[in-house]
Amino acid sequence: MTRLLPTSALRTGAALMALTVFASAQQAVTAYTNATILPGGKPAMSNATLVVSGGKVIALGGSALKAPEGAIVIDCKGKTITPGLIDASFQSGTKSEDLNEQSDEVTPHLRVLDSIDPEDPRFQRARNAGVTTVHVMPGTRNVIGGLGCVLKTHGTDPKEMVIKEDASMRIVMGAEPSMSNRAIRGGRVNSMYYRRPTTRMGVIWAVRRAFYDAKEALNKTQGAPGDAPPSPGTQILTQVLQGKVTAVTTARSEQDLRTALRIADEFGYQTIIDEAQDAYMVADELAGKKAVVMLGAPSAEAVAGSARSDGAAPRAGTVAVLAAKGITFVITTGTNTAALPLINEAMFAVRNGLGPQQALDAITIEPAKLLGLSDRIGSLAPGKDADFVIWSQNPLDPAAVAESVLINGQSVSQPR
């Protein structure tokens, strides 16, 4: 059952759908005028105009900027335009079995891109809520799960949707990689799960062993004849050590956060910290290491599911702590099943003390920078992808609706 939008929204929405499709087909120019524009990373602009053509932003300006000659003009009076939102840790609907290759707890070379289904309903939900780009990583059942990728949320083929392959390699600290592995009892080993770690110590040991092997492989300048080449997994790890692939360490509890930083130090690689519910307890260390944090579902009052056994206790004030300590962080939906749509996570962050500008940046330009894609997404600026959202009002307002969501200048949202 479709709901009836207020007339003005209907007018804009319908106009948009019809005209932007037409526009991109004809390489015509479309100007969105009279809007409040939050360009991402910069202060708000009122009575502003956004000009789009060929899937890119051509111009952005205040009331002084006039729509170009021959452009299709769409009046966005009363609306707010933001860049398309970016979720830097997005859980796709792929079954958890397919997000984790459990036959080995260290699988750095496996790619989650192989299991993406573009018609996953979560992509549609994300789109309709204004999210245009997501970073999807393998699951949390493996100590080193594999390679994540960055995709736009609309398309028919993952290869078309992906804008960065091998964007990250996921390392997981904590209880999840060791859960439901079996300890040998009675001397009988009849499952591969006996080989996997059953304790936190075992998990960390697996990480260290993997990186140790990688370091050895890196330091070997000449291999003896007959030496097997390093395994595909070790090759990826050497790339992490060389800084060519970004490590993302999922750590929730205080203990795991400290361990994540310690291991990274030990082997000399940079890591992004993911989930980080207990970050407020480790804030000074994070600030000291200039760590970048992806805060998972900060609105949630508890960690859901098996991850709960990590013992992390999320607190509403965490966003304010990170901001006060000057720690670079982004807001994501993460692995918590109770996560709200990304814009609502940002809304709760503002409620809990984060400045509105910073909250919006944390779901637009900051994740773009974190993913190394700020040259094309994350803010509205000439030359960047025309990924943007037209909201009925300020998006941090509970009554705000994403009336139109566009990727590369094309409307991708369903009318509600």
Binding site: L4, L5, Y280, R315, T318, A320, V321, P398, A399, A400
Partner: protein, 435 residues
């Protein structure tokens, strides 16, 4: 008589009077949302003995010198929210035996439950607590204020309704409906039996077989009393309807027994039936949900509040026990996101539930004569950044954000981080420098 003695005497009397109200309270506010009338800017509310005596612009009110003044002159003031149906705050909200109409939530409510603390934090002042949804005939509820050390302290009204439910946790829908009908039928039979016995007694008395001064002493069995009151429509019934499939039966029962209905989600198929609803309903906490079309496999988003608004049926909102649906502002936001007006949304947490509870002359809006149940907010009630600063129930301050331990716990690290860092002076250094 010296002053100190007088002071002590006054102090003693102050303590002796049940602290439901201080005699006079004046609340100054930037904005007063009365709900039923126009909003007032720069206004004052006067409370006496726990009730609203006057609401007007500050210029038009003279605050008595003896009044306790609550200065909210930069804040927003409105009535506390009313929940027409809730199963929170109890130890065990559902009995496993299916037919237990004689139970009462009075025996299950836990005044120390963090649920009530949470309700105050969210500005809720009146809660109709009923048993859960898992029992066929679950027992009676009561209207409580979420403040007090004992259930008696918290009671606003007792025996306010009998909870019924068509939810099937085990067994089929058909079975549940049949059980319900049988249960109601057996109560009717019991009542008929009782009436008949009484009539026979009177007949025999009239015929002289029983002495004329003997009175009919047999009372309605205690276990059946509440159920009988339901059948006789002396007590309101509250029926939980899990989905549209039970709605038909629910409408039939509602007509027969004059029931109020609490609707679950999954109403999208029931639009034609919804228009037959002639009375307000209560909505479950989840009002926005997704349904997957089996043919196209596409997801569609539905909002039950919107459906009822389209059908012209007034509704009361519920709050969830955890997560975003536990915040009134989020529920209001969901309604407005789906096209409802601010007034419709606010009414669903104030006057509509007040009316359903028959307490619309007491709560639900700020009007002269009503109870002084007031929440002081840091901003507009529909904004995500608004916090409840103070809650006043019947003239008494029962909650203040600045002393809320839970919020202190959640934000202490943030407060510390935000506090300006005082340079730590090395004590040893001090010693060396001969300080």
């Amino acid at each position: 008589m010296n002053h100190s003695f007088l002071r002590i005497a006054i102090a003693c009397t102050a303590i002796a009077i049940p602290a439901i109200s201080q005699d006079l309270v004046a609340i100054k506010a930037k904005t007063i949302h009365t709900i039923t009338g126009p909003s007032i800017t720069d206004g004052v509310i006067l409370l006496q003995n726990g009730r609203i005596q006057k609401i007007a612009k500050a210029a038009d009110v003279e605050i008595p010198w003896s009044a306790t003044v609550i200065d909210a002159s930069d804040k927003v003031v409105m009535p506390t929210y009313v929940l027409a149906h809730s199963s929170g705050g109890m130890r065990g909200a559902n009995e496993s035996m299916q037919n237990v109409p004689w139970l009462s939530v009075a025996d299950a409510v836990d005044p120390a439950s963090t649920y009530f603390e949470g309700m105050l934090r969210n500005g809720v002042g009146t809660i109709h607590v009923l048993p859960g949804n898992n029992t066929l005939m679950a027992g009676s509820g009561m209207v409580l204020r979420p403040f007090g050390r004992t259930v008696e302290d918290m009671t606003v009204a007792d025996n306010t309704g009998m909870k019924l439910s068509l939810m099937t946790s085990n067994g089929s829908r058909l079975q549940k409906i049949r059980e319900m009908r049988r249960a109601i039928q057996s109560i009717r039979e019991y009542l008929a039996n009782y009436e008949r016995e009484k009539a026979e007694f009177e007949k025999e008395k009239a015929a002289g077989a029983i002495p004329a001064d003997k009175k009919w002493e047999k009372e309605i069995d205690r276990k059946q009393k509440a159920a009988v009151e339901l059948i006789e429509k002396k007590m309101k019934g509250w029926l939980y309807v899990p989905s549209f499939a039970e709605l038909d039966e629910a409408l039939r029962m509602s007509k027969e027994l004059d029931l109020n209905m609490v609707l679950g989600a999954n109403l999208d198929e029931a639009m034609p039936l919804l228009t037959k609803l002639k009375r307000p309903v209560v909505l479950d906490a989840t009002i926005e949900y997704f349904e997957t079309d089996p043919e196209t496999r596409k997801e569609e988003q539905h909002c039950s509040a919107r459906m009822l608004a389209d059908a012209g049926v007034p509704f009361a909102l519920s709050l969830g026990s955890a997560g975003p649906t536990s915040y009134p502002w989020w529920q209001l936001g969901t309604c407005m996101r789906n096209g409802l007006s601010r007034q419709q949304a606010l009414a669903a947490l104030t006057m509509v539930p007040a009316k359903m509870l028959g307490l619309d002359d007491q709560v639900g809006s700020l009007a002269v004569g009503k109870l002084g149940n007031i929440q002081i907010l840091s901003g507009d009630p529909t904004s995500a950044t608004t916090w409840v600063e103070t809650v006043v129930l019947e003239g008494e301050v029962v909650y203040e954000r600045k002393t809320d331990p839970r919020l202190q716990y959640l934000f202490e690290a943030a407060e510390k981080a935000a506090a300006p860092q005082t340079p730590k002076v090395d004590d040893n250094k001090k010693k060396d420098e001969g300080q």
